[in-house]
Every structure is written in structure tokens, then in C-alpha cells.
């Protein structure tokens, strides 16, 4: 998307002025970066002994890769279950029956309003009261990721269904489909396709949120990677920069995937 319609195409003087301004701003940004660099240098944050451990193979195999595996495992389980939860509750909220619609709405609104941290914490400590046994940290994390993101996805899908032209369901009824068939075979697949970008960005949120697993001791990238490395080499900041970079790379690939799916879809539609 270009926003060039917001300003005139600059003439020769404008081009010169823009170049000067651009250079000044670039210099200012570099200046800020330099100040940060110097201040961090004062505190010894760039010292080699804080950074070289991050290049060691055993640091990766012991801390980063197992942590990454934990994060991805929780995220994948969360994505699958949240998707399922979203489909079920979107359909339930669109039901013609009040006794289905209203409770489903209450559940979705409740889980959307409660912080994920509380949900994970509750799953971990409340399970003893509720089911008489403890659940694993993994189950607590996946529970939280599922009900929270599932509720958000339910709303996204519902909005998608509501945005479909009425003719879609009318035509489906006209060919003799039952209510459940209309929903399952006609409305949900279209809504899901239309809302795919929104669903994928929710999955990015889910992946980032799996980092909250550390409060119940789930072995994920922040707990195992960051805390494990920092305990050995006392390099919290360098390790945190590395872990953040890993998250950014994964999320950007997810973003790319969403764009690719979107392009493929619009190509298919044509």
C-alpha cells in the first residue's frame, strides 16, 4: 500500500529539502543508537564474555533448542485446540437456539476479558480443587492458550460468517441442506477463508503468549533459554536480545505464511 496520495510529488527543491531532512533524521537516530551503545558499554554489556556463550553449540542444545521445542509444542497444541474451540463456539453463538447462543456468548466474553496469566495460573492451581488432581504445566499453558485465543478466534469467525452475503445460506437452504450442513459446508469454510489473515495474526499472539508459561515452570524459550543462560553466564541482556530475535524471526515467517496463503487464495478465486 502506498500513501503517496497524501502529498504532492516533490519538485527539484522539494527533493533536495527531503534529502537534507532525511539525512538529519538519520543522523539523529544514529545519535540515539550511539548513546544507547555507549551507556550499555559503560555497564559492560558488550563484553565478549557475555556474548560468546551465545555462539557455543552446547548452549544451543541445552538451553535454546529445548526451550524452542517447548514453545513450539505449546503453540502448536494451542493453535489446533484454539482453532477447534473457535469453530465450535462461533457456530454455537450463531445458533438459533437461545439456550445455546447465550451460554456460548457468556463463555466467550468471559475468557476474552480475563488475562491469560490468570487463566494459566488458575488451571495450574485450581485443577486440584476442581478435578482432584494436578495437571502438568504444559496442560495448564495449553488450556490458557486454548480458551483465550479460542474465544478471540470464535469472534473472528463469527464476524466472518455475518459478513457473508445472505444469499449464501439462502441458496444452501434452497438446495435442501439442513442447518448444521449449511453452517459446516457453506458458511464456516467461507468465513474461515475470509478471516484467515486475522486468524493467523491471532496465532502470532498465541505464540508470543506461550512465553507466559514460565510462571508455572513450563520449559519454554524464555524460561529455559533466557533464565538458563543468564544463570550460567550472567548475561541477561545479551540472552534476552537473542531470544527476542528468535521470536521475531518465527513470527515474521508466520506473517509471510499468512500473506502467501492469502495470495494463493485470491489467485484461486480469480
Amino acid at each position: 500500500m502506498s500513501y503517496a496520495n497524501l502529498y504532492e510529488v516533490p519538485g527539484p527543491r522539494g527533493v533536495r529539502r527531503n534529502r537534507v531532512l532525511g539525512a538529519v533524521i538519520a543522523l539523529a537516530l544514529l545519535g540515539v543508537a550511539y548513546v544507547v551503545y555507549v551507556r550499555f558499554d559503560d555497564k559492560g554489556q558488550w563484553a565478549a564474555e557475555k556474548w560468546t556463550p551465545l555462539l557455543r553449540a552446547d548452549v544451543w542444545t541445552t538451553f535454546i533448542l529445548p526451550g524452542l521445542a517447548g514453545t513450539l509444542l505449546a503453540a502448536v497444541a494451542g493453535v489446533v485446540l484454539a482453532g477447534l474451540f473457535g469453530l465450535v463456539f462461533a457456530a454455537a453463538r450463531l445458533s438459533e437456539h437461545r439456550w445455546v447462543r447465550v451460554p456460548a456468548g457468556a463463555v466467550v466474553e468471559f475468557f476474552r476479558a480475563v488475562p491469560l496469566l490468570l487463566l494459566i495460573f488458575f488451571a495450574f492451581f485450581g485443577s486440584y480443587v476442581l478435578i482432584g488432581g494436578n495437571v502438568s504445566a504444559f496442560a495448564a499453558v495449553v488450556f490458557g492458550l486454548t480458551v483465550y485465543n479460542g474465544s478471540v478466534i470464535a469472534e473472528i469467525i463469527r464476524a466472518g460468517v455475518l459478513s457473508l452475503p445472505r444469499g449464501q445460506s439462502e441458496a444452501a437452504y434452497a438446495v435442501g441442506m439442513r442447518k448444521s450442513q449449511v453452517m459446516r459446508l457453506v458458511l464456516l469454510p467461507q468465513a474461515l477463508r475470509a478471516m484467515l489473515p486475522a486468524v493467523v495474526s491471532q496465532f502470532v499472539v498465541l505464540l508470543k503468549d506461550s512465553a507466559l508459561g514460565l510462571i508455572v515452570g513450563y520449559d519454554e524459550l524464555v524460561d529455559r533459554g533466557l533464565n538458563g543462560i543468564a544463570a550460567n553466564f550472567s548475561n541477561v541482556i545479551p540472552a534476552a536480545i537473542l531470544i527476542a530475535a528468535i521470536f521475531i524471526v518465527i513470527n515474521l515467517s508466520l506473517d509471510r505464511l499468512a500473506h502467501w496463503l492469502n495470495d494463493r487464495r485470491s489467485a484461486g478465486a480469480r
Binding site: T62, Y128, A139, L185, P189, G217
Partner: protein
């Protein structure tokens, strides 16, 4: 659509299986498990240098680890058959109740509330709350000197509150998520001291020898015990026997000196076991 739900069912099953743990045989006592399975799983801290630390090669090191290995050996389990599993303060009781670990050796203080849920052998160490300060800090000699100073502790722990209530009303408290973060900030000069059990602090002092020191005036007692399944009297007795032997043959002192001694931490007398 049907494809989606089939995958979901598989995922649900997988989740249920993980949640229930693998269907391994359960034993009434740690003694039986050691005798029959010849394997033990021990819950330890993974991020505390000198006590329980996961090192880059994947193994664990520290005083708690040495104690766990010694006890396991006395129960008839070889060092290579002991698996260490990370526990955090929030999940130690749960791990024992679920049988995910057979014992917990993780700076685990014995108290009555915990005795409702698990049982304790030991104590194998009596720690006391102390302060960790920069090595060149001469004025901070005890908790009373903290007025107007900035004190770091880990979120959700009570020791810092105690300092404020009983010793230095004017102290400012900073809560961090991990002790490593506290250490970073004390070394950087933004904070003045860290408080928690002396032996934990000694671990950090050893890691940063010459830069940090433990003040050495404890103002509480914390008895570290070995957590076992509740009502495992047989296991408790066996572990206590092992500890008694460890105290007597000098291994206890050696383990302590080897783990946290580098900072000049004075090794105390071995504690009195509290059998029940």
C-alpha cells in the same frame, strides 16, 4: 471440515496423554522405587549457581545435586540412573503429588503448611537470611544498615518484606523475576543489596568472586529438607539414614566447600536431623 476435526481429536488425545503422564508403575515408597526400578527422578532448581544449576553440557551441578546423588547412591541407585528435573517454587508440591519426581532437593524449606502436602527428610542444611552486597561495600554490615538503601528480592518471596518490617523501615524494595536480574542490577550499581538465604547468595558470590560478597550475619533460620511423597515414612527414614552417613563421612562438608566455598563462605556444622 472432517479432516480438521480428526486432527483435533488426535491432538486432544495427545494432550490427555501428556497431562496424565506416562503410565509408569507407581511405588508406595521411594525405597521400593529405588530397589525395583533402579532409577530415580529428582526435582532440583536449574538456575541457582552453587546449589542447582543446569550447565551448558546439559548436566546439573551444585550442592543440592551432590546431596541428591549421595542419597540416591545410598538407596542403591547409580549416579547415571538419577535423572534431574527442573522444579520451580510454584510446582514442587505438585510434582511430588503427581509422582513426576521421586524426591525434591531444591532449597526447599521445611514448614508446617508444606508438611500437609509432602513429607520432609532432613534438614540437610540450615540456611539463614542474609545480604549480598558489592565486595567494596563496607557500610552495609547487616539489615539495620539498609535504611535509605535499595534492596532486591525475587517477586513473591517474603524475606524482603521481613527486612522492611523488622529492621529497616526506610529501605526501598525492588522485586525482580530472577536472582540473576538482581545480581545484574547490584553489580551495575543501581541497587545496593540482595536478600535471601545465605547459601543461595554464596552461590552467586562464588560465581562473581571478587565482585560480590555475603555480609555473613544471618537473621533467620531456614531448614532445607528433602521433599518426599506425603506419608512415605519408610522413605523418610532411609533418606535420613543416608544424610546421617553423609554428615559423618565428610562428604557433606566436601560437597558444600566444593559448591559454594569459593566465596569464602564459612561452612557451618552439619545440622541435627529432625526425624518424625
Amino acid at each position: 471440515m472432517f479432516g480438521t476435526s480428526r486432527y483435533a481429536v488426535v491432538a486432544l488425545l495427545a494432550l490427555a496423554l501428556t497431562a496424565c503422564g506416562s503410565g509408569e508403575e507407581t511405588y508406595a515408597s521411594i525405597v521400593d522405587k529405588a530397589k525395583n526400578a533402579k532409577k530415580l527422578v529428582v526435582g532440583v532448581k536449574a538456575d541457582q549457581p552453587g546449589l542447582g544449576l543446569r550447565t551448558p553440557d546439559g548436566s546439573f551441578s551444585g550442592f543440592d545435586i551432590e546431596v541428591a546423588r549421595y542419597v540416591a547412591r545410598e538407596l542403591g541407585v547409580k549416579a547415571e540412573d538419577v535423572t534431574f528435573k527442573e522444579t520451580v517454587s510454584a510446582n514442587r508440591e505438585a510434582f511430588l503429588q503427581q509422582g513426576q519426581v521421586d524426591m525434591v532437593v531444591a532449597t526447599y524449606s521445611i514448614n508446617d503448611a508444606r508438611k500437609e502436602k509432602v513429607s520432609f527428610a532432613g534438614p540437610y542444611f540450615v540456611a539463614g537470611q542474609d545480604l549480598l552486597v558489592r565486595a567494596d561495600e563496607a557500610s552495609l554490615t547487616g539489615p539495620e544498615a539498609l535504611n535509605g538503601k535499595k534492596l532486591c528480592s525475587v517477586a513473591g518471596s517474603t524475606p524482603a518484606q521481613k527486612v522492611k518490617e523488622s529492621y529497616a523501615k526506610e529501605v526501598q524494595l525492588q522485586e525482580e523475576r530472577t536472582y540473576s536480574a538482581c545480581v545484574d542490577r547490584v553489580l551495575g550499581g543501581q541497587l545496593d543489596a540482595i536478600t535471601t538465604d545465605n547459601v543461595i547468595l554464596a552461590g552467586y558470590a562464588a560465581q562473581h568472586a571478587g565482585k560480590l560478597k555475603v555480609v555473613g550475619r544471618t537473621f533467620s533460620t531456614e531448614k532445607y529438607g528433602i521433599g518426599l511423597k506425603k506419608d512415605d515414612k519408610q522413605g523418610r527414614d532411609a533418606v535420613n539414614d543416608a544424610l546421617e552417613k553423609m554428615f559423618a563421612d565428610g562428604s557433606w562438608k566436601k560437597a558444600l566447600e566444593g559448591s559454594v566455598g569459593a566465596a569464602g563462605f564459612a561452612v557451618p556444622q552439619a545440622p541435627q536431623l529432625e526425624r518424625y
